[in-house]
Amino acid sequence: MEIKKEQNGSALTIHVIGRLDAGSAPDLSKELTTALDGVTDLTFDFAELKYIASAGLRVLLVAQKRMNKQGSMKLIHVSEAVMEVLDMTGFASLMTIE
């Protein structure tokens, strides 16, 4: 998994590339703990995300919970496979997906 960040003022776009599974989820989690400071507009770009595991979902949940307090969060360019998981687990109805 690879993480790319685009900071534009208080808006942060995070590109998650590859597989977000139990192995790589802690990396993203760790990244987010600091990256989200002062961010009011968080966007996950999942254009190149191939797979998301439950551990990855948990990271999204943590981020969502935090962004609920300090701004907003959305997911963009979600692939079909990932969308399936989000859908199945009910995340799709909980999160803003564009």
């Binding site: 597989r19 599974d21 139990a22 989820a25 191939k50 797979y51 595991a53 439950s54 551990a55 979902l57 948990r58 949940l61 943590v62 919970k65 496979a81 859908d87 199945m88 687990t89 009910g90 995340f91 799709a92 109805s93 909980l94």
Partner: protein
């Protein structure tokens, strides 16, 4: 060959020492060589110049000496002849006084050797031969003549006194009258006083015929006669000097003396320059009258000829100059040998004194001088050479000594230099062998000490790291052990006693991945006719997932057993969710599929909390499809959310196959998932009526076929339930 530091140092120090010494030595050797060569060439030049200077100096010195000697000797001879001529003058004056004043003297009768015995210092008379001619005899002489003779005999005292000055030498002092008588005192020391006369001397001696008479009779001053042939027994040459005396009528005769003048003789014979030098005297006729040479040219043996007419031109030339009364120095050839002749006139005599030095002697003397000089220079050169060799020798000695001292010193130095390095390597070796308590004790105060300090620091750090590592390893091991225990516990929590009933058949397997995961399944009877089944997957892995799984499983079980009948399945799930949400800051969640089967009616009530939709097999149609599930949210993150329960009625033979994402998301080596589509396709393909063990095995085999060599990434849980219907 590779050298160690000690050897390199040794060579370095040695090389430095020896090189500097060699350089210095080489420089001084070079300098010495230059000085030596310069000195040598200077010495040689100086020697050559000095030798030639010495040669010419000696030559000119010899020439000057020759000239000086010639001059001095001629002076001396003149002085001696002056003494003689003074005597003659006295005799002439006395004789003249007597002859002119015969009346002032008394007649004296002299000894007549014809009758008397005559001794030395006794005057005697000899009569001329004509006295005995014609019957004459001295006794018959005229009275006048007799008187004249007897008066003239008064000269005897003068003769005597002069003769006394020549005592011990052969000599004669005499008066020869023009009238023929001869008065004389003769000294012959060797005859012991007595004189002997033969008849010729007694009767045949005419003094007027003698050369001394003839040469002097017409002279006005003393004349040295050529009495050179008169050698006495001692080998002395006799000098004759004579001059006339006068009476009233003029010249009356001649007085003279013959003396052997040893002083003159020795002045001549003992005057020689060089080994072969000699001296001679020639008279105004060019005849050699004295010579220290016994024979050959310029000896008195060849005195008949006039030297001026010598066939040897150089001698003739020299003789002419000598006779002419000149001073000078000339090269001459005597008996074929080259000589240098210096000459000077003897005043008042018409003689000339010449002294000769053999040219070869001069050359030899000059050569001697030159060779002496050259010898000195050679000595200087050889001393220089010796000193030079001494210097080289001492240098070599010092070099050997230097080597002798430098080698052990260098060795020692190198050893001392390398010692801390060796100590360092020994210490490091010890540390390498695991003794981290080893401290390097090197107090050299230089980089090596610094290195040692760094090593010590490194050792400390290593020790700490090793301790930490040991601790961490132990911790890890402990955790791993605990994880294994947790895995066992987790596994133990999964029910294994599948009921063997007629109305329902069920089987579940859980294949854990390496790490302890969060899958679980469960089944239990709510009452006699209701069977609850659960398949769940906790997010993440590890202890936290396992713990959460235990909690989720326990709570779900509790709520299902206690409140299902009162509140329904949706409420059970909602309550469980609420319970899980409490204190779930970590946002753990669990996807759950839970269903309750009425074993009598086949009605199946289920709630899907974000879990994978199970596959349902319709026995009548022999077809599989996914169970329609509402997309409820997962359990754990959000409380108070509603869950929708659904229901379906199983016909006998129908089968529900539940699984976790470990099945559909199983990865092959290409990271490709197994996917729900393949699952449903396989389920439709395979025979779902077989024994559940067989069925699960087949599904697992298909998944395994997909996965291939890839490592299992997640727990794989499969749970199958077949409804058989009431046994009637």
């Amino acid at each position: 060959m590779k050298w160690n530091i000690q050897k390199r140092l040794l060579v370095l120090v040695l090389a430095a020492g020896i090189l500097s010494f060699l350089t210095l030595s080489g420089l001084s050797f070079y300098g010495m060589s230059i000085v030596r060569n310069e000195l040598k060439s200077l010495g040689n030049d100086l020697g050559a110049a000095g030798a030639s200077l010495t040669q010419s100096l000696i030559e000119s010195q010899i020439k000057r000496t020759l000239v000086e000697v010639a001059k001095a000797r001629s002076e001396f001879i003149r002085h001696e002849t002056d003494l003689i001529s003074d005597d003659v003058k006295i005799m002439s004056r006395m004789m003249s006084r007597i002859a002119m004043n015969p009346n002032n003297y008394k007649p004296i009768k002299l000894l007549d050797p014809r009758f008397d015995k005559v001794k030395h210092f006794q005057p005697y008379i000899i009569y001329s031969p004509d006295t005995y001619a014609n019957g004459m005899s001295p006794e018959k002489l005229s009275a006048d003549l007799r008187r004249e003779i007897e008066i003239n005999a008064n000269i005897n005292t003068t003769l005597y006194s002069i003769s006394k000055t020549f005592e011990g030498f052969n000599s004669s002092f005499y008066v020869g009258s023009s009238k023929g008588y001869f008065i004389c005192i003769s000294l012959y020391p060797e005859t012991n006083g007595a004189l002997e006369f033969d008849n010729n001397e007694l009767y045949g001696y005419d003094c007027r015929e003698r050369p001394w008479y003839k040469t002097a009779i017409n002279a006005t001053k003393p004349v040295f006669s050529d009495l050179y042939t008169n050698f006495d027994d001692d080998g002395y040459q006799i000098i004759s000097c004579s001059m006339p005396y006068y009476d009233a009528n003029g010249v009356a005769g001649v007085v003279g003396l013959d003396v052997a003048n040893s002083d003159i003789y020795s002045a001549i014979t003992e005057t020689s320059i060089g080994e072969h030098g000699f001296s001679f005297v020639i008279n105004d006729k060019g005849k050699v009258i004295f010579s220290s040479r016994k024979d050959g040219d310029l000896s008195t043996q060849q005195t008949d000829s006039d030297l001026r007419n010598s066939v040897e031109g150089t001698l003739a030339t020299a003789a002419k100059k000598m006779v002419a009364g000149e001073h000078g120095i000339l090269p001459v050839i005597v008996d074929g040998e080259q000589y240098l002749l210096a000459f000077a006139p003897v005043e008042n005599t018409g003689w000339s004194f010449g002294t000769l030095a053999l040219h070869n002697d001069i050359v030899a003397a000059a050569e001697d001088g030159k060779s002496y000089f050259l010898k000195q220079i050679d000595g200087f050169n050889s001393r220089l050479q010796k000193e030079f060799f001494l210097f080289t020798f001492i240098s070599a000695l010092i070099f050997i000594g230097l080597l002798y001292v430098l080698f052990p010193a260098s060795n020692n130095l190198a050893h001392r230099f390398v010692k801390p390095i060796n100590e360092l390597s020994d210490g490091v070796r010890e540390i390498t062998n695991g003794n981290f308590d080893k401290k390097l004790e090197i107090q050299t105060g230089d980089e090596i000490q610094h290195l040692a300090i760094c090593f010590n620091a490194m050792t400390d750090e290593l020790k700490t790291q090793m301790a930490n590592l040991t601790k961490a390893t132990a911790e890890k091991e402990r955790i791993a052990t605990e994880l294994n225990v947790a895995k066992d516990i987790q596994n133990g929590m999964l029910p294994k006693d599948f009921p063997n009933r007629d109305d329902v058949e069920l089987l579940a397997t859980m294949t854990p991945a390496k790490e302890v995961g969060g899958d679980f399944y469960d089944f239990y009877f709510i009452d006699e006719t209701h069977l609850a089944i659960t398949v769940a997957d906790v997010s993440g892995k590890g202890i936290s997932a396992a713990l959460f799984m235990v909690i989720a499983k326990t709570i779900l079980n509790n709520f299902a057993v206690s409140t299902l009948n009162r509140d329904g399945l949706a409420e059970v799930v909602a309550a469980t969710n609420d319970k899980l949400c409490a204190n779930n800051d970590a946002m753990m969640f669990v996807t759950v599929f839970i269903g309750v089967l009425d074993l009598e009616t086949g009605e199946f009530i289920y709630v899907n909390g974000g879990h994978n939709p199970p596959v349902i097999y319709h026995a009548e149609e022999n077809r599989c499809d996914f169970l329609d599930v509402k997309k409820n949210f997962v359990l754990g993150p959000m409380d108070g959310i509603p869950f929708v329960e659904q229901r379906v009625t199983f016909k006998p033979g129908d089968l529900i196959f539940m699984y976790t994402d470990g099945v559909t998301e199983a990865l092959n080596v290409k990271d490709e998932e197994y996917l729900p589509d393949r699952l449903i396709a396989f389920m439709n393909k395979t025979d779902c009526r077989v024994d559940l063990h067989e069925l699960l095995k087949n599904v697992r085999a298909d998944v395994a076929a997909h996965v291939g060599e890839a490592e299992q990434s997640d727990d794989i849980t499969m749970f199958a339930l077949r409804f058989k219907g009431k046994a009637n």
